[in-house]
């Protein structure tokens, strides 16, 4: 059914509402001059904009609300069923939702698929069946699109690790790649993808038609003692990934056939403090949350949710937001924040507006330059925040 035909039918519905009233024998009705009855309609959206935040409603929620960072107003919602993953088509035409649904909600047949929504009408336009995916939600790296938007990588764990490769042009699952001991995807243009691994390496999966080569860096972190947060950040222009560990060690890595990992620096030392470590009883500022870091790519600024505490408090909400200049490795801004947020994101435009939220669902939009809270949004959603990334 086309959109136009739907609207005309809806007008008919409007008449029905009128007729309900008409049947009530109120003499007053026929005698009164009134404004012309209104007709229902449906909005269309603009394509994904740089100053939009896409906010998941938290555990069990079925939608991602879209907020305009400049006004703080909700402009729409993408259907994202429980524990699904959202990706924005680089061309701006579609939203892709990797999801898992059962034929009888809480039972029945499992169906894994990528649902394709038109970005203007937000209507479902296609469903791409896949062999499975990890049902977890809350991670940006479990469903990623290549720069040209032609390929999607969808992480699976069942409970063995693999990655499903989907052709987004043909809208067809291509094949799965096993990825033992690693999880999530870091884009690696022209090569395939890379992943953080339990042995402290980054594995690179070079896709070559129907086969692949897997290579690994030297071990550079201790996955059990000082893990790197899975929600790594990728800069598509610089072809660089930014990683932060539980103690606050910041590393960048340039991707390619060979991945080069930088020497780490300490968030705390960047602020003139003693580096934090893994020992109990040592109180320090630590990064924490589910989505504890955000990257303003145009300025190369890393924003980190920080809290005071002991080690192994890596899910704790923030008391401050720290801004780190990645080039100079210096702390350039500390913004106190209310509500113990666990997720942070930043718009990739010059406005550089930060959004943070916490499990209670309240979101704050903060000017990263001044630290000023521009908008407070109740019930915005307590989950992962997504923005349009510059290509």
């Amino acid at each position: 059914m086309t959109l136009e035909r739907k609207v005309s039918r809806v007008v008919l519905g409007s008449m029905l509402a009128g007729s309900l009233a008409g049947l009530a024998p109120l003499p007053a009705i026929a005698e009164t001059v009134v404004p012309e009855a209104e007709e229902p309609g449906v909005m269309t959206m603009e394509p994904p904009k740089a100053n939009w935040f896409y906010v998941r409603g938290g555990w069990g929620s079925a939608g991602s609300s879209i907020f305009d960072a400049s006004t703080g107003k909700m402009v729409g919602m993408v259907n994202t069923s429980r524990d699904s993953d959202l990706a924005i088509d680089p061309s701006g035409k579609f939203y892709y939702v990797a999801e898992t649904i059962w034929s009888k909600v809480n039972r029945g047949t499992r169906q894994d698929l990528i649902s394709v929504y038109d970005s203007k009408t937000l209507k479902l336009v296609s469903e791409i069946p896949t062999p499975g995916r990890l049902i977890v939600g809350g991670f940006t790296t479990n469903f990623v699109l290549t720069d040209d938007g032609k390929t999607a990588y969808d992480y699976n764990f069942d409970p063995a690790s693999s990655v499903n490769i989907i052709d987004m042009v043909k809208r067809k699952f291509v094949r799965a790649v096993e990825l033992p001991g690693c999880a999530g995807m870091i884009l690696n243009p022209g090569v395939g993808f890379s992943s953080l691994c339990a042995d402290g390496t980054i594995a690179t999966v070079a896709i070559k038609g129907a086969t692949q080569d897997i290579t690994r860096t030297e071990p550079f972190f201790d996955a059990a003692a000082d893990p790197i947060f899975s929600n790594t950040l990728y800069d598509r222009k610089k072809k660089q990934v930014v990683m932060v560990s539980y103690t606050g060690l910041v590393r960048t890595a340039s991707v390619g056939a060979k991945v080069e990992v930088s020497a780490p620096f300490s968030l705390q030392e960047a602020g003139g403090m003693k580096a934090a470590d893994v020992k109990p009883l040592d109180i320090a500022w630590y990064p924490g949350g589910m989505q504890p870091i955000a990257l303003h790519r145009p300025s190369g600024t890393l924003w980190v949710l920080m809290h005071k505490g002991e080690y192994w408090s890596h899910k704790e909400g923030a008391e401050e937001i720290w801004g780190i200049n990645l080039a100079t490795r210096k702390l350039i801004k500390r913004i106190p924040v209310e509500g113990e947020p666990g997720n942070i994101q930043i718009t990739q435009d010059d406005a550089a507006l930060i959004m943070v939220n916490g499990y209670k669902g309240k979101a704050l939009i903060i000017d990263s330059k001044t630290g000023e809270v521009k908008h407070e949004i109740e019930n915005a959603g307590g989950g992962l925040i997504t923005v349009v990334e510059p290509m």
């Binding site: 519905g13 009128g18 008409g22 009530a24 109120l26 404004p35 909005m43 929620s61 929504y117």
Partner: protein, 180 residues
């Protein structure tokens, strides 16, 4: 501006209806329900008084006394006197427009609300927008002349997503239908 003529509207409805739509089943069932259901006044006055509804300030509900006509994103906007749910105006939609991707229900519950600017009562159709998860913004629950399930057209608990492709509730609009 045009004169609201419920009989003409009924005729128009019938003409369109005869033209045939996939909603025929819904409309036919709704029509049957209405024909069979007893008639009822839309304001809380006894039938004998229905011809002269009391619109003096003393007859105004608490909602009507504090209603405003300027901000459609607040629960106390005058048209929302019997709305229950998220305001579509806060969800990316408008006062009579669904947010993108949602589908307006072809049927709705109704309220009669007093516009403080002219002191008159108008009939408002609360049309749900369907097929998307709950919006969650600006949740309101106003209950002027809101009744129970046996008067479903005046009940705001029912999810009025009949005849839409999905019955999932997203938000509610408040369409002006005419004078009450």
């Amino acid at each position: 501006m045009k004169r609201f003529n419920p009989d003409a509207m009924g005729e128009k409805l019938l003409r369109r209806f005869a033209g045939g739509t996939s909603r025929r089943g819904i409309l036919a069932r709704m029509g049957a329900a209405l024909v069979a259901a007893p008639v009822f006044p839309l304001l809380p006055v006894s039938r004998a008084e229905a011809a002269k509804p009391d619109r003096s300030p003393e007859a105004k509900t608490a909602f009507a006394r504090s209603a405003q006509t300027t901000d459609q994103t607040k629960c106390n906007y005058w048209r929302y006197c019997a709305i229950d749910g998220a305001l579509c105006t806060c969800c990316g939609g408008g006062i009579h427009t669904c947010p993108a991707g949602a589908e307006p229900s072809p049927v709705s519950w109704v309220g009669s609300c007093i516009n403080p600017d002219d002191g008159k009562a108008y009939m408002i159709a609360y049309r749900d927008c369907c097929g998307k998860p709950a919006c969650g913004q600006c949740n309101c629950d106003n209950t002027d002349r809101e009744t129970q399930l046996y008067l479903p057209q005046l009940n705001n608990n029912v999810i009025w997503c009949f005849g839409t492709s999905s019955m999932e509730y997203h938000c509610s609009t408040a369409m002006m239908i005419g004078a009450a």
